[in-house]
Symmetry: C2
């Protein structure tokens, strides 16, 4: 069993039983609470010590000019960076004359528990102050899944052996000092160091509110807090506000055994267009709503929301407690990332940290949305509606680049391209096809016709138009897409990347199908039948490079002619390679950062024969170094499909433990949302073999030795399907709704409520396990 240094392995929670300041920033990410709109990192209530203080509102960013040593046409002029908004989590405590600070005095007990069932972060601390006063602090924190503007904290402190004089300061802190990033880092620019300009601050009673705006992006932010105080009758309450600080102070003397309990309600709001009074009122209204629910009401709503989620999303795995914990941790955080995003992006770190500047990438559509589509479909729809909302920016970018249709940004918060390195960023046009793929999957799996007509068709059409503008027919009427960058960031600007071309093909056909299905909407979007035919023609003529001599697909034209990377001369300390070798060297050799052709075999499986998959997987395994967290889960899926179950499981656990074990040493900056999704992908698309085919779900289940049961529930077309895999057979149960037809190992099955269907699992022949580059074999995972 994997033993986390600081976290116990439990099925329904993440528990920390000692406070290790060396990994405090990692813990802050793991214990982050979010609802997709508001994110609170797991900072200690008293604010310090901290690794990285963080409170985020989805969509709130500041712009900063992009510097270039040599500028070029079409380069983005400015970046967008997520900013740390006003911190509403802070509750400081003075114990006699000593601030409660775990770096001083003596921490005699510490526990934090993030509960996946009820969505609360609990903390229990016992502390002896440097002056010898013994207290117990018990806090519960939530970011509401039912009221998107609301975070709340129930803070209880108890005097133990002696009476103590307590002063509790519940605060709103704007423009917190953050750790510097590094010399010359453009994100240390003045605009980002103290991004919030004050507009107003008010206080009265137990209530304080602050309003700010950002200087360049021009967003207005409001935050307000109110409190319910329960303590000795002699307790005194006062409040104060300053431009960057709001404070409610409670002073009390507690006798031994006596308690002071404060419930803090914090409401956040922001707008790019609404006026100061409007934002002020919006925040006050949200706060009033939360106060009406009260603390008990909020936690009941939270539990109810999560019960509903788990009822359609839980994954059980018998035989591996660590993976059991990891997959629930992953699903919980994926829900947190998307639940209430409502028209904003799901960023690559969710709202758990400032990594990647808070940007959303293609990861969302390719890794996160498949999971949400099957487990929290409304969140998936919301994320795609965000893409739809930035179509104007994507169309403008296409015009700027001399193209047609929509060019979605490689990385963005609000829609503008924010990639400062075009070969890896702006040339990765596959993001458009990834969005289209997510649209098609969402529509197929949910049957959401309204979405298909309002959002889906237009996204499909504008992405399809891009491929027609980007590609061209060669003299033999083959459709080529030259000079683009596929998923593998160790290749760039290559011709006919197989992944890109296959995804574009799917994009084109899906757009044509959708236009045929919704002719009225198609007409209103200016799609005439000849355009649909052009899409089909391009798809049919798509070039897919194949190396006859090697008997494998070439990741792009010429790739298999390139020199093999000298893995035997590359030391373990030279990974990730991009930190130790120049791009030009990586680009010109056969070395793969992350699944590219292998991802194509997952997402466009029907485009490959089983034999091709086996050969391709083996060939690219030997080249793939997994310097990206967006690789292990895909390798798990294809390892499983090609009959390498143990290898699949090793990749599965790598994806699953990415953040819990801090495998890439950067969990401090936020969770790897796509890798969290990869845990589910590796289990459900890998071991259970879930795919979509003609709008239906299909399965090819198998279990590696040692895993005695894998069970999960997914939402399909408004119904919940429960799948339970044993070593020899798989049982399908429909929890609700009309009968569902599916395939098990290629055989049709129909599942009806109340009747379990059991099917034997296939048995794959033993095959020689593929090899990885020297030193890049995945960690062998012992299952207990």
């Amino acid at each position: 069993m994997i033993t986390h240094p600081a976290y116990t392995v439990e099925p329904w929670c993440l528990r920390e039983t000692r406070l290790d300041l060396d990994v405090i920033a990692q813990s802050e990410s793991l214990f982050a609470l979010s609802n997709g709109h508001l994110g609170w990192r797991g900072n200690l209530d008293e604010g310090e010590p901290h690794g990285l203080p963080g409170s985020y509102l989805n969509g709130v960013y500041e712009s900063h000019p992009f510097p270039y040593a040599e500028p070029g046409y079409g380069y983005p002029e400015a970046g967008q960076s997520v900013i740390n908004v006003t911190n509403g989590k802070v509750i400081r405590l003075l114990v006699d004359d000593q601030p409660f600070d775990v770096r001083y005095g003596q921490l005699t007990a510490h526990e934090r528990v993030l509960d996946f069932h009820d969505g609360l972060l609990r903390r229990k601390v016992q502390w002896i102050s440097p002056g010898g006063k013994d207290i117990r602090v018990h806090t519960r924190r939530l970011v509401s899944l039912s009221q998107r503007s609301i975070g709340a904290i129930c803070y209880e402190v108890e005097a133990l052996d002696q009476s103590v004089r307590l002063v509790m300061q519940s605060e709103l802190v704007a423009n917190e000092t953050l750790p510097r990033r590094g010399i010359g880092d453009p994100r240390d620019s003045a605009a980002l160091v103290a991004p919030l300009m004050t507009e107003e601050h008010t206080s009265g009673g137990t209530r304080v509110s602050l309003l700010h705006h950002t200087a360049i992006s021009g967003l207005r932010l409001g935050v307000a807090m109110d409190h319910l105080i329960d303590g000795p009758a002699s307790a005194q309450v006062s409040c104060a506000s300053m431009p960057d600080l709001g404070r409610v102070t409670v002073s009390a003397t507690l006798q031994p055994g006596q308690r002071l309990r404060v419930v803090k309600f914090v409401a956040h709001g922001w707008s790019a267009v609404r006026s100061q009074p409007a934002v002020r009122d919006q925040v006050a209204a949200a706060l009033a709503g939360a106060m009406t629910s009260g603390w008990d009401g909020l936690i009941a709503e939270q539990r109810s929301y999560l019960d509903d989620f788990w009822g359609g999303a839980d994954v059980e795995i018998d035989g591996d407690p660590a993976v059991q914990q990891a997959v629930r941790f992953a699903l919980f955080h994926l829900l947190q990332a998307g639940a209430k995003a409502e028209g904003r992006a799901i960023a690559s770190k969710g709202l758990t940290g400032p990594g990647y500047d808070g940007h959303a990438f293609w990861d969302t559509e390719t890794f996160v949305l498949p999971v949400l589509t099957y487990t929290a479909p409304k969140a998936a729809a919301d994320a795609l509606r965000w893409r739809h909302s930035i179509l104007p920016a994507a169309r403008a970018r296409a015009v700027q680049l001399g193209l047609r249709g929509a060019v979605f940004p490689w990385r963005t918060i609000a829609g503008a391209e924010c990639s400062g390195y075009w070969p890896a960023g702006a040339a990765a046009f596959h993001v458009g096809a990834d969005i289209a793929d997510a649209v098609v999957r969402y529509i197929d799996i949910t049957g959401d016709e309204c979405f298909a007509q309002e959002v889906g068709l237009e996204l499909l059409a504008d992405t399809a138009r891009l491929w027609c503008a980007l590609g061209h027919y060669d003299p033999h009427r083959r459709f080529r897409i030259d000079g683009v960058t596929g998923p593998d960031e160790y290749s760039a600007v290559a011709d006919n990347n197989v992944y890109t071309n296959l995804m574009a093909q799917h994009n084109l056909v899906s757009a044509a199908d959708a236009a045929a299905q919704y002719p009225d909407q198609a007409r209103s979007l200016g799609i005439d039948p000849s355009e649909g035919q052009r899409w089909r023609d391009a798809a049919a003529a798509m070039v897919i490079p194949y190396d006859d001599a090697l008997g494998v697909h070439s990741q792009d034209e010429g790739f298999t002619s390139h020199e093999l990377w000298h893995f035997d001369q590359t030391g373990a300390d030279q990974y990730p390679l991009l930190m130790h070798f120049p791009y030009f060297d990586l680009y010109r050799k056969q070395v793969v950062k992350q699944a590219d052709l292998v991802l194509a075999m997952q997402l466009r499986g029907a485009a490959f024969t089983a034999e091709e998959k086996i050969r391709n997987f083996a060939y690219y395994e030997a080249l793939t170094v997994r310097d990206s967290s967006l690789s292990a889960c895909t390798q798990a899926v294809l390892a499983a499909e090609t009959g390498h179950l143990d290898l699949a499981y090793d990749y599965l656990t790598e994806a699953a433990l990415m953040d819990l074990d801090n495998l890439e040493h950067n969990t401090r900056d936020g969770l790897h949302t796509a890798s969290l999704a990869g845990t589910w992908i590796a289990l459900v698309q890998g071991l259970a073999g879930l795919r979509e085919s003609n709008g239906n779900v299909i399965f090819s289940p198998q279990l590696p030795l040692g895993i005695i049961r894998l069970a999960f529930t997914i939402r399909v077309q408004g119904r919940r399907l429960h799948v339970e895999i044993s070593p020899g057979a798989t049982q399908y149960r429909l929890r609700d709704g009309a009968p569902l037809t599916s395939l098990h190992d290629g055989r049709p099955i129909t599942v009806t409520t109340g009747v379990a269907v059991s099917e034997p699992n296939r048995e794959l022949p033993q095959r020689t396990a593929p090899t990885q580059p020297a030193g890049r074999v995945p960690r062998r995972h012992r299952r207990d």
Copy 2:
């Protein structure tokens, strides 16, 4: 005849007969004086008005940090920019109470003449002050070709109708205010705005000196001036110095017809290592030397130097006065760029302006050095010795990039890579082969064995080693060089660029030959015979992409499969394309910025059949937009070789008039040194068909209609060969030395002093002229 708006067409000078302030910056470049060590732009003596004040010392630069929106391994951390050193040209004049400033009062006569025979810039001005005083100013200026530290000015002023009270201020001005470049331009950084830090300033008598250093690059600069004054006995002289200003003031009252004449001697010096006293003394010594020569001595030395130069370099063309002027203008400026560089680079703008940050590129070896090799061979050797001197930096760069041998920088002043965009810069490894090509040509044409052993072999070996590290053998034992950028900057990071591979092939074979020729030196450089054999093997196995279907070479692998650029949809105002289209779009389509494959056909002509040259030239003509000044001359050469003489002549004149007609609208930033060289290349390598073959020179002369005679002298192996082409025949005369064997149209000829050899010119069949992209046909040049 081309009529320059401001310059008359004369065979031996450039003359400006009116002062047009709209083109003053262009004039400053055209009238720049330089000796390769010190450069003075043609600023007016009185300093203002100016377009761009400029005084440069070869090798003097300041560093400035390079910003990156997204940093990457191996990116240069700092740039190097040429700085404007202390201006020693300034002589201000107060006429009664009015400063002599042509923007005020009345300029009744103006003439400036740059004389290619004596190397002087003469200025004659007649001016009526706003107060009605009439004066005549006559100045002569030189930058000495014999004393590299020295510039000098003879300044004469005469009172005409009335007596005038004159105050003349001869100055040294440090940290002049320069025009700003643009918002956010990193070269407007503080380090470059006022780059000179004062160290000392002294004055006494008619003499002032200033010492400064640069803050980051740590270079020490000294400048001193002294004067000879000849005027009325009542003239008063005083002097003063401040940290950034030295001034000698001469006050006199001139009666009508009376003159004041001041000769100003300015000595510059700099060092990266020498102490303050040492640099101070070095400058004082140089000044003493110049004072000893005196003004007349300096102009006599200048004339003598130039007589010697023209005796081995002149080009005469009968039938086109504008081109006659242009080729002498070009040769004069090429000499100025390289004459006394002595261990420093020849920058792309010489020392005529700050364009391209004062960097040297591959242009020097590929365009400038062939001309200097045949006309001023010592300057060519010096430039290559500079490359040899930066070998340590080039080897360190190779190590940084994981390669072996030497990686010469794409652009640099002092040796460090200064390219901020690696796909166009750092991946253009052909620079190494270009240097090797220049080394081989220099050795072959001069027979300089000492250079070959001291410098040549090591340069050839270290560049050859790079190709072995960069390329690899595919399974069929073909040697591939993948992922590099050739000369055409509208393609990047492509596999097996024909130009690069052919130049690398030549580099490898030449290195092996040199190692065999100098076995002792080879051994001392660690080259064993097996390494030489590896070089030959790689050269023999080199992949040269050829498109069988089209019957042409593919510029790189895949190039001819790419979409054709939509020239018919590209407007005239969308050139240069890189200002209006993103790189990714240019890279992925068939569009050529500048000769690439066509340059390969010039430099590696024997690698192509005559038929291949005809087909290739026609194919690439239709794709080449000449958005670079490094193209027209090469197209001229191949147009001539493939029998399109009129087209060749059009390209010839484009190269010739690049700066005189300001064709690229940026002559203000300095002259296009490579295009100046292109004038000679187009005439001598184009019309006369000069090539090298097995160490001999060969000719294939022909003249377009209207050109009745082309004659030129070149230096070959210590001798001067005079070639005179008439429409029907060519006459060869050896001016001195042992008999010389050559080829005329493939037939061997031997030329002996005193005996002219006459050979008939070949007649090429009429062929259909190739076409250019819409709107990119070269300007038709009318010859009178």
